[in-house]
Symmetry: C2
Subunit: 160 residues, 2 copies
DNA sequence: CTTTATGCAAAACGTTTGCATCGAG
DNA sequence: CTCGATGCAAACGTTTTGCATAAAG
């Protein structure tokens, strides 16, 4: 998407304005970074990428924007156990169902998205959510399911 | 358990020594705190409780001991999304199977342990783990499954 | 023109570490 | 007596905040 902003920022624009927020250059840049990556970026990663597009943006704007996007459910915030948060654009809102979970390497921090077995998982989770909601009178809003282990590269290295 | 230490510290004692570690007053106090609570304590919570038993123990000993216990798989470390780690004694090692997952209130941070539906969950997770291990050549060592939402108290408050 | 968003620097926060001393075995 | 464990304070890395200024609408 050379020379322009992705569609992510376009529909977010409307979303922002609907809530009385403003679309700014920094916010567009942050959305664009999130929209054109497949990785699970930390705030600092995002800051560095944004810096390439719009060098005057500061770190605090990145954090404030990510916080806002989280509140608007436009991005998900994850903790993969390495002491910093990671952010991912909520692709589910765009058009298609894109539900996935994560496989996290505890050695190199690599994160793999997987959608395999998702139907079974989601089905069971829904059933569990329903049962738990009733029994504990708890309004469940989201869940986290992550598998931790060693990726093929790190497993091999460990054997040496 | 007035005036004495729980059995948790007793079997950990042997475990420690087996690995060349020493059982100290501070470590006993930390184990005792973990063993006699049903809550999900943070390092600071533990520090305060330990302080009541053994006032000269410092925060760094708490952190170092928790790190050691985690490595020995005697405690589990959790992240419930409130910016600090929580620790739980691994009751599964004591004698009985005590597998549970968590329900986390995003408002008051209350955590409910549940064992309902655990059999189905564990079965599905095992199946998924097997499939993922094969497909991604990933050695899965543990998983995290947490439900986030509003507990009954906070849900009621929100309506006011 | 009004109000929200920003950059900067400083603060805050949970956690880790270096080092001299202590105490378990 | 030896080596692992400790307390203290200082350092660390991430995230948040106060405030004067800039820019969106």
């Amino acid at each position: 998407m050379p020379g322009g902003f992705g569609k992510g920022s376009v529909w977010c624009h409307g979303r922002f304005r609907g809530y009385g927020y403003r679309m700014t250059v920094s916010r567009q840049a942050i959305l664009d970074v999130l929209n054109t990556t497949v990785k699970h970026l930390s705030a600092e990663d995002i800051y560095h990428e944004v810096h390439k597009i719009h060098p005057s943006s500061g770190m605090s704007t990145v954090y404030r924007t990510l916080e806002l996007l989280s509140r608007l459910k436009l991005v998900f915030k994850f903790d993969f156990g390495d002491g910093r948060a990671r952010y991912e654009l909520n692709k589910r809102l765009e058009n298609k169902e894109y539900h996935h979970h994560h496989l996290v390497c505890i050695n190199c921090q690599r994160v793999i998205d997987y959608t395999d077995f998702i139907e079974d998982e989601v089905e069971l989770l829904k059933k569990t959510e329903k049962g738990l909601s009733k029994k504990y009178n708890f309004k469940i809003m989201r869940h986290i399911l992550q598998f931790y282990g060693l990726c093929n590269r790190c497993e091999e290295k460990g054997k040496e």
